[in-house]
Symmetry: C2
Subunit: 290 residues, 2 copies
């Protein structure tokens, strides 16, 4: 059983299963697990790990257009080193503060591999789902794509300080809240732009037509990538970025753009069916979270 | 650094750090990680694992006197087997239903060891902390103690069906809510009765005097234990039970007892200082969660 099938099973027949966060009453709730071998390359500081792990859950709340209320984390490691835990908590707390939430505590577990489980609860009376995209809507992306792929390259090169900075993304909570009244569908780009578009297409029962030259590739990608094709691969397929991908009716685009504190880029539009880039079918591949 | 010191650090300087759940606005939030080597003995079904893992977090919410709103879980394993995930989700869902909450989804992670991270969010406008016990209050325990210790013995003996049943405790959410208006302090007994009393004593700045013959030892313990001393050890020190330990002003005891859907037993009273059983100092030892 692959991860996607299993994930569908884990979510069961729940309402809005497959959305970035579960919705119950006026709350949204999301949980994630990250661990050393797959998520924290050599050189990742515990400060960055705390920031990024909690940030990943905050991003899910952002993708629902919700306010971030509180975060908790389980810190699991072979041993508990004072300085590492302090750094981790500082990173976790600061990413919450950056988006108006609070890191409120956690649990510890002894585990062979450094592993972090994070949960964020947020509030929204009108969450945005993945299911509302309609043909003719504009497809928008916040910020720039490919930062995490670029960070990995820098970690490999030993440029850890810069890689850590790129790895500490700002969850788009404010943008998500600002876009929520206008967006017909929204999710985050953690599985990569290509897979995000396929997931929105599947859930909304629509298609997409996007233009590669409109994809907002991060400056760091252009710098570290070996040519244009690789830069494109890193920005469109690699994933592990935490920008918002949303659809907005065209007559609301100007208002939405003005409302969002993070710049948004229109990369194409919603169609009836098929996910195409530059008129050709865009493969449904990307990051499968280990 | 031992786990208790590290845990204090992880919680940082947060308000009410060390309580069973974090409190923010009208919400309580708690997270836990359980894993195979330390928490799920050979013979534990995935159904029981789902029930028990989510139940542990529900118990924390119960200990705050809060209503259980929603639960999420991360299921991490070396491989994803359809039947195992289905059982896990069923157990997780049923324990939520048993206490009026909802299991609303989760995440998957590939991990060498079967590991579960659970989070529950609950609601309370007047949560009960560990800090309010006052000399003269009665010390009460819900239900019976030692079930998990007895279950472990049964797992060792290969009596898995019965062991699984004992392992699936009912989180005391209804009792917690009923006791909340009357209890001056409350926590769950997951670290064992002895350690719970020491933790309440430390947080409330008080002492306890309890009587061993009043401790409500579970029938299964008497059956599997090798004599009275071992039954006592299993019920007072072993922990991993999820009953509530609370203090109640004596003039509210009758009302509290009538209100609680789970029977409560008075095992002693709050004193000025020192934790004593049968007049002798009760060691501060118990289960340290691995």
């Amino acid at each position: 059983m692959d991860e996607r099938t299993a994930l569908e099973m884990l979510s069961g027949a729940l309402a809005h299963a497959g959305d970035d966060a579960a919705v119950i009453e006026d709350l949204v709730l999301t949980t994630d697990m990250l661990h050393e071998t797959t998520d924290f390359p050599d050189g990742t500081t515990r400060y960055t790990a705390g920031w990024r792990a909690v940030g990943a859950s905050l991003s899910d709340v952002a993708a629902m257009g919700a306010a971030a209320t509180a975060a908790v984390a389980v810190y699991a490691a072979p041993e508990f080193r004072e300085e590492e835990i302090r750094e981790f908590v500082t990173g976790a707390s600061e990413v919450c503060e950056a988006v108006g939430g609070a890191y409120v505590g956690g649990d510890l577990d002894t585990h062979e591999e450094f592993t972090v489980a994070t949960t964020v609860v947020g509030r929204s009376r009108n969450p945005v789902y993945r299911s509302g995209a309609r043909p003719g809507d504009a497809v928008c992306v916040t910020g720039t794509l490919g930062r995490s792929a670029a960070a990995l390259r820098l970690f490999e090169r030993g440029e850890s300080a810069r890689a850590n900075r790129l790895f500490r993304f700002e969850p788009r909570v404010a943008a998500g809240r600002a876009l929520a009244p206008h967006a017909s569908a929204m999710m985050d780009s953690s599985d990569g732009l290509a897979r995000s578009l396929h997931q929105l297409a599947e859930t909304s029962g629509c298609g997409f037509s996007v233009e590669s030259e409109e994809v907002p590739i991060d400056g760091a990608v252009r710098e570290v990538a070996d040519g244009r094709d690789e830069a494109f691969e890193m920005s469109v397929f690699f994933g592990e970025d935490f920008e918002l991908v949303c659809t907005v009716p065209k007559d609301e685009l100007t208002v939405a753009r003005d409302a969002s504190p993070t710049p948004i880029t229109v990369i194409g539009e919603v169609t009836e069916r098929g996910v195409a880039m530059d008129g050709e079918s865009l493969p449904d591949r990307g990051f499968t979270h280990g």
